[in-house]
Amino acid sequence: MLRVEGLDLFYGDAQALDGVTFEVKEREIVAVVGANGAGKSSLIRTIHGMHRPRAGSIRFEGRDIVGQPSHRICELGIGQVAEGRQIFPSLTVLENLEMGAALRRARAQEKASLERVFGLFPRLAERRRQAAGTLSGGEQQMLAIGRCLMGCPRLVMFDEPSLGLAPIVVYDVFEVIRRLNREEGITVVLVEQNVAQSLRFADRGYVIENGRIVMEGSGPALLADDGIRRAYVGL
């Protein structure tokens, strides 16, 4: 479904991604794990058209999307739940969700999408008239996910969805991602610092270090690897 090949990204002279190659198949959950600053967010943002790579190709369903602006890429069905949630704090919960459905591909289903999101997150329905900035961190993460779903994406890239959340809320977030994958067939790219949890959760995983993919494999296989256990899991 998504195929990234030989991706190089520079910020000025600093290289952020170095020949990154990876692949996501339809209905998969793929985790990209690595330390802070390894290039995980850069990868997601480059796929989403926010940074322009110096070299490499990004193909979504066979079509090269490098150089397209973000809103076009969203129209193709690639959604992003960004790091730090990135909600609109002064807009109400409902207005935030409406903005997610501003895409042409999503407008016709706006009502149905809203019911689906409220079904998934009853808390958001209760607070629909409230300014989004007044929600708790966990609720804001739910809103960010809901807002992304309003755009009817077929592939969603989650950037550090567990960051800054209480463990119990992290569990809820992962549970929601699993449901979206199993029940609605949404393909998932999960970028996380929380290595153990996301590898346990994913079908396949990639380990990224200094902008380079250093290892790939099934989630359990990576988890069993000694190097990874020592470097990331702390066991």
């Binding site: 990135q86 609109f88 903005m99």
Partner: protein, 301 residues
């Protein structure tokens, strides 16, 4: 012999006089508010400070003068085509000239806008010359009696029209999907890109809207004051004073600031020579900067 100001005629400073001057000041202030609203909306969303604001409005005023001189179009009606023309100009300016500057440092944005302002004001000077021009509508000397108040028809219409346009703008941002999308961009530009809002196009639309406000404000203002090219920089400065007093980026603040500055200018005209009345506006500016730097209505950044 004493040399200085010629003796001013003694006017009895009655309560009625003060009341009348205050009413006129508030009405003028609403038009100022609409002008400042344009600046505030543009800054609030794009973070671009439009240093060509007054110059663009002056161009709109000349447009109104021209339409009146050629086809006898009342400036109140000319506000529609001129508002539209300014919107087109604003959209083009943002998408062709300013968008490439969005990620550049502020001083280069500043120089860009100052350059646009200088080009505009000199263009006006070349086309229209340095002399003041005005519009003499049929109702220029009409007035309405409201108890002790005697209100100029031109000022009443201009104030009401400014309020109407401001109201439409508020409704647009509150209820229209496009208005909400622009607010979303102002709230969180990165978040807007994440959900797939076309941020650059929305910026251009915002610039168009702010410019349309200016176009309308220019047409209304030409009913009340003469226009000459140097009015441009003066109005840019005035718009800045108003948005800073009201609160940068706050729409209500722009209107409140406009009314306050209009009122204070008018009342100051009672006690100081007209050429010195902007002194009071700047005194207010200094007080606001000292004691409430976020502006009267603004939130603390």
């Amino acid at each position: 012999m004493l040399i200085g100001h010629p003796p001013r005629p003694a006017i009895a400073m009655t309560f009625d006089l003060v009341l009348n001057v205050a009413a006129a000041g508030i009405l003028t202030g609403l038009v100022y508010g609409l002008m400042a609203l344009g600046l505030s909306v543009i800054f609030g969303v794009t973070r671009i400070v439009n240093f060509a604001h007054g110059e663009m409005m002056t161009a709109a005023m000349y447009g109104a003068v021209l339409l009146f001189a050629t086809v006898k179009l009342d400036p109140l009606l000319a506000a529609i085509p001129i508002g539209a023309a300014l919107a087109v100009f604003g959209y083009a300016l943002q998408s062709a000239v300013i968008n490439p500057f969005i990620d550049r440092p502020e001083h280069s944005q500043f120089m860009l806008m100052v350059a646009v302002a200088i080009v505009l004001v000199n263009g006006l000077l070349m086309i229209f010359g340095p002399n003041a021009q005005n519009v003499m509508v049929g109702y220029a000397f009409d007035s309405y009696q409201l108890g002790p108040l005697l209100i100029d028809a031109t000022r009443a219409y201009a104030g009401a029209a400014a309020l109407l346009v401001a109201g439409l703008l508020f409704a647009f941002f509150r209820f229209a999907r496009l208005g909400k999308a622009i607010r979303a961009c102002a709230d969180n530009q990165f978040g807007a890109a994440v959900v797939g809002l076309p941020v650059k196009r929305l910026y251009a639309l915002t610039f168009a809207l702010g410019s349309a406000c200016l176009g309308v404000a220019g047409c209304l203002l030409v009913l009340m004051i003469d226009v000459s090219p140097p009015l441009g920089p003066a109005m840019t400065l005035l718009a800045f004073v108003i948005v800073i007093v009201g609160g940068l980026g706050s729409m209500t603040g722009a209107l409140v600031g406009g009314v306050l500055i209009g009122l204070s200018e008018a009342l100051a005209g009672l006690v100081v020579p007209p050429s010195a009345k902007s002194m009071v506006s700047f005194a207010i500016l200094i007080l606001v900067l000292l004691f409430r730097p976020q502006g009267l209505v603004g939130r603390r950044a």
